[in-house]
């Protein structure tokens, strides 16, 4: 169980950041419905956590929003424009994705990886400065020349985040970005993301992390939305019991006033 005591500072919402609207989206694989009519809205510049047990459709929903999967029904709108109808490259200029534990066999320096974020954009002389600034943002400017393969898991995730920042997206999609990170890096990563002020949708496993960092949480169960709203409203014993099958006690973090959950078997 993690007990969070990092103060969470809400950033000033970036003026004019577009909202994300997922409307009645469905996606199935091999005839099995994985995402079943999901609707959600992420307010401009805020962070929404996508929660749910294994196999509840979190990753599939993220991939459908990212355009990796083509939805069988429904639409995904960013700032009013249909992401699904967009050319792949245009979409990549507006939406950046950080997947869990994505790695490579190729010998790459950290800066090479971050520069991949410029792929959808026209090559420009300022690309390297952008990439270095993004590394600065995630606190890895000094490691720009390091070999990717010498980095720890936490450093790799931060490099991926820097890559996503370099993509200059309006929407950031994160698929369990804190998986396998130690507690320090888990908090550091989500603090970075939160401080960016970019509209963010993140699949998270850890309910306490979601409670501490997200402005809104959406709980998926069997591909459908089981509950959605502010963490304090959604992460209540009833929801946790019916979706995750465990009993939960809710406390308040004395530093942040955010909910902290402790669990017991039913």
């Amino acid at each position: 169980m993690t007990v969070l005591d990092t103060p969470v500072v809400r950033p000033a919402v970036a003026a004019g950041a577009p909202p994300l609207e997922v409307a009645d989206v469905s996606w199935s694989a091999d005839g099995r419905l994985i995402v079943d009519g999901v609707g959600l809205t992420v307010a401009p510049g805020t962070m929404t956590g996508l929660l749910g047990p294994n196999g509840s459709g979190k990753s599939s929903l993220l991939r459908t929003v990212a355009g990796t999967y083509r939805p069988d029904g429904g639409r995904v709108l960013l700032g009013g424009s249909d992401l699904g109808a967009m050319r792949r490259r245009d979409r990549a200029r507006r939406v950046a994705v950080v997947e869990q534990e994505s790695t490579t066999d190729v010998p790459l320096q950290v800066l090479d990886v971050v520069l991949l974020g410029r792929t959808p954009h026209r090559a420009s002389a300022s690309d390297e400065a952008l990439a270095l600034a993004a590394l600065e943002t995630v606190g890895m400017r000094d490691l720009a020349g390091r070999d990717w393969h010498t980095l720890s898991g936490g450093e790799r995730q931060r490099v991926h985040l820097a890559r996503a920042i370099t993509q200059q997206p309006e929407l950031l999609l994160l698929d369990e970005p804190t998986n396998h990170l130690d507690i320090h890096y888990q908090l550091a990563l989500l603090t970075f993301v939160h401080s960016l002020g970019v509209t963010t949708l993140a699949a998270l496993h850890d309910l306490n992390l979601a409670a501490a960092y997200c402005d809104q949480v959406v709980v998926l169960d069997g591909g459908r939305v089981a509950a959605a709203g502010a963490p304090a409203e959604v992460l209540v014993p009833d929801v946790v019991r019916s979706v995750f099958g465990v009993d939960a006690d809710i406390h308040l973090n004395p530093r942040t006033g955010r909910p902290v959950l402790t669990f017991s078997p039913l």
Partner: protein, 355 residues
């Protein structure tokens, strides 16, 4: 109006990272010089006593740039005998190295080489059939080429699943096609080869540049220049494959269309190389890795440098092949395998250490 993430401006002077542009250009200049020197020297090596300047005199004469007093005999050795062979070797080496670099990226398999998708064995079936039927050398490139393309189409058809070309499936399909074609080749030889045609087939199967003509050189050079230009123009796209298909897709790459297009181009290029030289192994596997160890894995650097290094390497491998046991000629595939296998072993050990 849209708002994007604007990272704070950092003190962006980074001397240790100013590597990409200038360093790549320097390496390309060096490797181009090495290639020019290799062509010149390789032409002079052999039974007749030629001076490097004779090579350029002959070239100048034939291009109408000069008129020297080079004897007809020497000019003939340079222009008719050695130069086409050396230039064919260079183009074949460049083609194989380019194909290897692209295949390794697109299949995400560091052990991929240009022959992976059944290309060389498909080409072999075509070539051997032609050699047996005795249609002659003119039909050989076309048949090898057709065989390679047919093998590729079958491989794609086997690997294709709902319009997707998954790397592992593609490699396995290529393997199946390879074995089938090898069996077909052996069967044709078993059924009908005798004496001379048998020796010719064997030399072709092991890879040989003996008897390379200006026509051969032209086929491969055109293929290398055209396909190479397209591949280099897609360097950024290829870079985006480093973290796999789904990351490439979120970076705006149409993964399947790119893979179909570029693999077809690679097949064309491999077909051209195999048609004139037979199956020469290890060049396409080794050289891209060697280049990556030196300049990293950005394709803007890796592709041109692999091509240049492959060209020089093949020239010297072929020079060894034709001089080592003079007057008998060693198949150049044997030379590249002798040089390549140890290098491959080193590569494998390094990878194990790296894990």
């Amino acid at each position: 109006m849209t708002t994007t993430v604007a990272p704070p401006a950092a003190g962006a002077s980074a001397p240790e990272l100013r590597r990409s542009g200038a360093r790549t250009t320097a390496w390309i200049a060096v490797m181009a010089a090495v290639l020019a020197a290799s062509v010149t020297l390789a032409v002079t090596i052999g039974s007749a006593d030629l001076h490097p300047l004779d090579v350029w005199r002959s070239i100048g004469d034939h291009l109408g740039l000069s008129s020297s007093s080079l004897s007809l005999l020497r000019d003939g050795i340079v222009w008719e005998l050695r130069l086409p062979r050396v230039l064919t070797a260079a183009a074949v080496g460049a083609a194989l190295a380019l194909c290897g670099a692209v295949m390794q990226t697109l299949t995400r398999n560091p052990l991929a080489d240009p022959y992976l998708l059944g290309l060389s064995s498909g080409a072999s079936v075509g070539a051997v059939a032609v050699l047996i039927l005795g249609i002659g050398r003119l039909g050989l490139p076309a048949a090898a080429f057709a065989g390679a393309l047919l093998a590729l189409v079958v491989t794609f058809a086997l690997a294709n699943r709902r319009g997707e070309l998954a790397p592992t499936r593609t490699v396995l399909a290529g393997l199946a096609v390879s074995y089938l074609c090898s069996a077909a080749t052996s069967f044709i030889i078993f059924w009908s080869a005798t004496g001379d045609s048998y020796r010719e087939i064997l030399s072709w199967l092991l890879g040989s540049l003996g008897g390379a003509s200006w026509g051969d050189a032209a086929i491969v050079w055109v293929a290398v220049v055209v396909v190479g230009t397209v591949l280099v123009s897609r360097a950024r796209t290829l870079d985006a494959f480093a973290f796999g298909d789904s990351t490439a897709s979120t970076l705006g790459i149409n993964v399947n269309a790119t893979r179909w297009t570029l693999l077809t181009l690679v097949a064309l290029l491999t077909g051209a190389a195999v048609a004139v030289s037979g199956a020469i192994g290890f060049v396409g596997l080794m050289l891209p890795h060697a280049v990556r160890f030196i300049v990293g894995s950005g394709h803007r650097a890796v592709l041109p440098l692999s091509a240049l290094a492959g060209a020089s390497f093949m020239i010297w491998a072929d020079t060894l092949a034709r001089t080592l046991f003079d007057p008998r000629e060693l198949p150049v595939g044997v030379v590249t395998a002798f040089l390549g296998a140890p290098a491959f072993a080193v590569l494998l050990r390094r990878r194990r250490v790296g894990r």
